[in-house]
Point group: C2
Chain length 342, copies 2
DNA sequence: TTGTACGCGTTATCAC
DNA sequence: GTGATAACGCGTACAA
């Protein structure tokens, strides 16, 4: 019972050859009913388990897919991975997780590692710090297949799955305007990141459409955490003409701002409205509940997995780029409803 | 550039043997400096990547570890996995994630699958629904190595890493008593699960220690979600003598209760105190902030990984069981501080 | 210091 | 329908 049984053991047991056993196990049509049953029976008796490593080595397909994220214990990424796993597992793929910790060097090493592990593809949400496209570019040179999700880099031949950050930001800002807000501030995170650039653009365009004057001092770049949001809010409220609303590209940053405003007895939403981005779980439970743009992480994960599978199947003939943009959905809650409740 | 380079390709290039190449690549001492450099140079030139599949097949070690959780997109599990990955990745292991969706059959299949994939070990937080120990028992019969975490089953020869649920519950309850609460209710989840049983026991023993009478009608079994907590709170408040505090084994359930109590204008913590379990992120941000017992998921993940690694190293000689119990830490916040602020 | 030969567990291509 | 053999990529005794 100590060693794992192989097809060879089964063969010896039945005085047949390993090839026959393999055929029986794989439902090869050219095999007699009798031997098949015999093989299957002894297989279970010996507690035989197919060695996927050997199959992978032989076939060149590991049936493993690598997933790279900055951190796994962040609601958004955890949910994306959930979507990926839900899509991939039923098709016989395993998901190998790695975290970059926002470290560019680590990201490179992880990619190397996954390629060494012969993964059939890699789903990647790249690190903020990874600005040097060319280095990554080198890694991405086949033979593994990549798909970006959420945090993409703009390569000509690599597919990506994102949400419509521009539209989401546009809708959020327009909603604030329609609620009667006149001076809408914006929390930005990093204009080097495509996704934050798009949100900023959506914000600006919504202002323009409704003839609301854009003011540079209302836009603050912050880190995505409470402290930064708090400081930013403080700065905003000390302006000669403070804003009466914030559209934030980060829920976490907005949270700090909300806490600060409440500590200053600013009434939300009566005199000040806020909308965030990401629809983090806590937004629903706060008092007041926070409006936010949902990123449908589960769908994103599923879609990214689907796109990858397609490319794996048609590999390596076509090099078709496929950029999927999922809709961003504004979730309106109390924090942005001056007019009535919700 | 299309096919992956192998040690054979390097050998041919240099008119030496694959064996020599292998030695050079593995820093075998018995090799000339010259050839080593030559090999290394052509290796990078040909963009050679070691095939971990082949190494694994040859050595019998895949350097992959399977992790099985009910869902990955739950803060607790995501954080445990983060801990596992943080511990394992630097040692050259990859983490393969699978989710059971609380489905017992799926759990069995996943274990099979991981064993087929030749993982070196499995870290498992078992499904609620998996009550039939004997079936799982069958799967667990070597040669793979298992370690349970958080949701354990009581096997005589399988290690586990948990937190001290009993102590955490005891501390939480005692804290409520010390705050002056006289009638402390308890939200239980499922007494079939070891961990909830221990929390219930901690609750009871704390009451006993302080001579607070235990009342059966104050204990309600609920699902771990808001709706269930809401209903339970409603039921409690309609009792002839309603409680003045709740110690809940689930933060999510408690959240529903809090929302209900607030809707009924019950003052928390002035006239009603609550303490939860898990220290979910939202507990910190609510108004009032919710006291909760922290489960240190990161540490749990790291510890589970460590225990597994130890067993992998001494495998297969000793079959030493190692049950690690991490401390549970009560985080006191506003929701349970009748006396002063926090 | 390097080459030879073999095995890890499977599957595929020939034969018979 | 089944057997024999080669091959996937690598590491390692053994020999030279």
């Amino acid at each position: 019972m100590s060693k794992k049984a192989t097809i060879y053991d089964i063969a010896k047991e039945l005085k047949i050859t390993a090839a026959t056993v393999s055929r029986a196990l794989n439902n090869n049509p050219k095999i007699s009913e009798k031997t098949r049953e015999l093989v299957l029976a002894t297989a279970t008796r010996l507690n035989y388990k197919q060695n996927r490593l050997a199959v992978a080595l032989k076939s060149g397909k590991s049936n493993n897919v690598g997933v790279i994220v900055p951190f796994i214990n962040k609601n958004f990424f955890a949910s994306v991975i959930r979507g990926i796993e839900d899509e991939l597992y039923p098709k016989g793929f395993h998901v190998i997780i790695s975290q970059t910790h926002e470290d560019k060097e680590r990201e490179k090493k992880i990619i190397q590692n996954l390629i060494n592990a012969q993964v059939d593809g890699i789903l990647l949400s790249t690190s903020f710090t990874n600005i040097n496209k060319d280095e990554l570019r080198f890694e991405l040179k086949k033979p593994s297949l990549f798909v970006f999700f959420d945090r993409t880099l703009n390569f000509k031949d690599i597919s990506s799955v994102t949400i419509d950050d521009y539209q989401g930001a546009f809708d959020a800002t327009e909603h604030l305007i329609q609620q009667g807000c006149k001076r809408i501030a914006h929390f930005d995170v990093d204009q080097n990141i495509e996704l934050y650039k798009n949100r900023f653009k959506g914000y600006k365009d919504a202002l323009k459409k409704h003839n609301v004057k854009f003011k540079g001092e209302y836009v603050i770049s912050i880190k995505s955490n409470m402290e930064a949001g708090k400081e930013a809010a403080e700065k905003l409220m000390k302006l000669p003409v403070p804003p009466d609303a914030i559209f934030s590209s980060t829920d976490n940053g907005l949270l700090g701002a909300v806490k600060y405003l409440q500590s200053q007895s600013v009434l939300i939403p009566e005199t000040f409205c806020v909308v965030g981005f990401s629809n983090e779980p806590f937004t629903k439970f706060l008092e007041p509940s926070i409006s936010s743009v949902d990123q449908s992480p589960l769908e994103m994960g599923k879609m990214a997995a689907k796109v990858l599978l397609e490319q794996i199947e048609k590999n390596p003939v076509v090099n078709s780029k496929n950029d999927v943009i999922l809709p961003a959905k504004l979730i309106v809650r109390k924090s942005s409803c001056k007019t009535k409740k919700n």
